[in-house]
Symmetry: C2
């Protein structure tokens, strides 16, 4: 193997270097502090679990995304987490076991066998918040507002939230009594927003117009708040359950706007990203003009059932790498104080005092006296009339 390749990283795997790593850490602290102020309690789920546990309640997409290894201790399969939400649901349902609404948050890296998007990461750093134990629109609105405030905290403007509802497609296809393969076909056509494909399926499978027509309408139903009115008319024949989903979205949007007046809410009733475990409202958030979403979330009331305890749940996760990239600003150059080697009393105490005050103090290493500025020092500790003081570095 060529020596050079020793230091190439696999595709979609990144490292964060100085000074970015410190700014990334500061961003994460700010986000977790905000979650805390909203009553969300931090949880650290494990990086690795039994594969069956990790995949319980999730769809085939998560299974394909997960790296798998054999456990030398138990002989069972282990998985590296590809998604932290199912872990949080397990912890809510089976570890914490509270009866009251429970607000939890997390920060951590997940691994994917393949990137979600061409050229994307396979090791996203995710931060997220989940609200368990409440099924009304108030908790969905809280999650949306917290997501928006978190993106704004990082300095992001010009956001665009695409809101959809997993219940609409689910209610429509339930009436059609399709095989799983056909349901998947419809799902894929909707994701591609292909009216032509939907039309062919409805025709070829001989679906009654009463069921097929509303389905084909879905791909047209995206845009601002006016879409909900159009949807009420276009989907009027699709039944009560579909109408309730539309009402639910309208109510959630109203509650969000009460807290964030200019909330950038848009509707996309064919939007089904993450559908495999979502059951209610669901959303993808974009920075205006970008194709790749920065935050995803929605309601998923059924995951807990896999662990024997169904709890209503709603939440979101943010891709921190993307957030950091969008929030990027030039760092001020490091400003450190250089401390010489000396046995004159008071030096150790002076160094400690400066560090306590938030200064960076870098101690001399014999043989590198000429590297002081290159190490980021612009001041030094020096003896003046027998006392240690901080002064500007002389010269240049």
């Amino acid at each position: 193997m060529d020596k050079r390749s020793h230091w190439l990283l696999p595709e979609g795997i990144e490292e964060v270097l100085p000074p970015d790593a410190e700014r990334l850490d500061a961003l994460c602290r700010g986000v977790l502090d905000q979650f805390r102020a909203w009553g969300y309690e931090l949880v650290v789920p494990p990086l690795m679990e039994y594969l069956e546990t990790l995949l319980a309640g999730t769809g085939e997409d998560v299974a394909l995304q997960s790296f798998k290894v054999t456990d030398q201790l138990s002989g069972r399969m282990l998985g590296i987490r590809a998604d932290m939400t199912p872990q949080m649901a397990r912890i809510d349902a089976h570890v914490l076991k509270r009866e009251t609404p429970t607000r939890l948050c997390y920060l951590g890296t997940v691994l994917h066998t393949r990137p979600r998007n061409q050229g994307g990461t396979r090791a996203p750093l995710q931060v997220g918040a989940e609200l368990y134990g409440h099924s009304g629109p108030e908790s969905d609105a809280e999650i949306l507002v917290l997501m928006l405030k978190t993106l704004q905290l990082a300095g992001l403007r010009e956001l665009h939230v695409d809101l959809g509802h997993a219940g609409i497609f689910r209610a429509m296809t339930r009436g059609m009594k399709l095989t799983p393969a056909r349901e998947q076909d419809l799902f894929d056509s909707l994701q591609r927003k292909s009216a032509a494909e939907l039309h062919s399926s409805v025709r070829d499978w001989g679906l009654p117009a009463k069921l097929g027509e509303p389905l084909m309408q879905l791909v047209e139903l995206y845009g601002d708040a006016a879409v909900l009115g159009q949807a009420r008319r276009a989907l009027a024949g699709a039944g009560d359950e579909v109408r309730q989903c539309i009402d639910n979205l309208a109510r959630i949007a109203e509650l969000v706007r009460r807290q964030v007046k200019d909330a950038p809410l848009y509707f996309d009733l064919a939007e089904l990203d993450g559908y495999h475990y979502h059951t209610g409202m669901m959303f993808s958030t974009y920075v205006a003009g970008e194709g790749q979403g920065i935050a995803f979330g929605g309601r998923y009331d059924d995951i807990g059932a896999a662990f024997g305890r169904r709890r209503p749940a709603t939440g979101f996760s943010i891709d921190v790498n993307l957030l950091f990239g969008r929030a990027a600003r030039a760092s001020p150059p490091r400003s450190a104080i250089y401390a010489p080697v000396s046995e004159v009393p008071g030096l150790v105490e002076m160094i400690e005092q400066q560090r306590r005050q938030g200064e960076i103090v870098i101690c001399e290493l014999p043989g590198h006296e000429g590297d002081i500025r290159a190490m980021g020092c612009d001041r030094e500790l020096a003896l003046e009339k027998g006392r240690w003081i901080v002064r500007r570095l002389a010269g240049k």
Copy 2:
């Protein structure tokens, strides 16, 4: 599979729950802040790399500890990191490529196929600091002092540092011209501190007494500073290189004591934990009375060579889970403010203001008005004469 087993975690894999997770986060922030004040720059190395890269410059122990998976994109083997020090060495040597001394630090989880100790974790959270580019005792002393200060920061007292030197065993065995298998035998006997086994080996292999005698002495050379004097006498016949190692340890200890007067330094010249990549002083730090070490480190000047650029290096890592366990204190109960649903103006602003001041404000979720105290609220926002105020929760 039994439903219950869905929520059992694999052996040696843990999760951190509220309120511990928040305290753990605070501990980590404190440690990173201290590293920063000492001039150590944060790096976030990847969780996964090509296996060859991860193992470059390390020994068979790291290879056995690493989980391996096939990369679906390249067809090559990937490894989950089992140790972050080799990653840091790669980043110093081949990414940063600085000529000046470089201080780096990291915080992250590694995974091990098997626990290091019976009942121990397989997913240690490690925090560490590394100093590249300086080979004198000053950098070894700085690393030891920073390690001690970091453990003290977490409230640990009664520490015990076992200092050894990889150069002693290496110099002794070099003269013996042993096969790798026999060298490993001697290494294992020393680790078990078995004078009897060493004696048998020296006799059975017909090693000259001049080489064998000092080796057998090693198991007796542990204790306080007086050990270095004993070692000079007992190992006098072992050659100049061994004497220089002893002098090096003495000088490092002197420099540490200049900064930490009562530094709990002990010497153990048979201590070789981590020997496979260490080249100079090496240490294990214990909380008095405990068998499992909490911090490990030493000098490892050769790892960079695997990446084509040899740089002197010294550093340490701390097991944060153990640190957190020893630092554990009871958390004060959560004290949050409850905010009702209301359209009376000023509420949204009042909530934001309280959160900015560091308060936790939990918003009402209809249907859960009776759960306020269970959610940790001891105060509430209430209207008094048309203004929103914070007041104690009435009753109990």
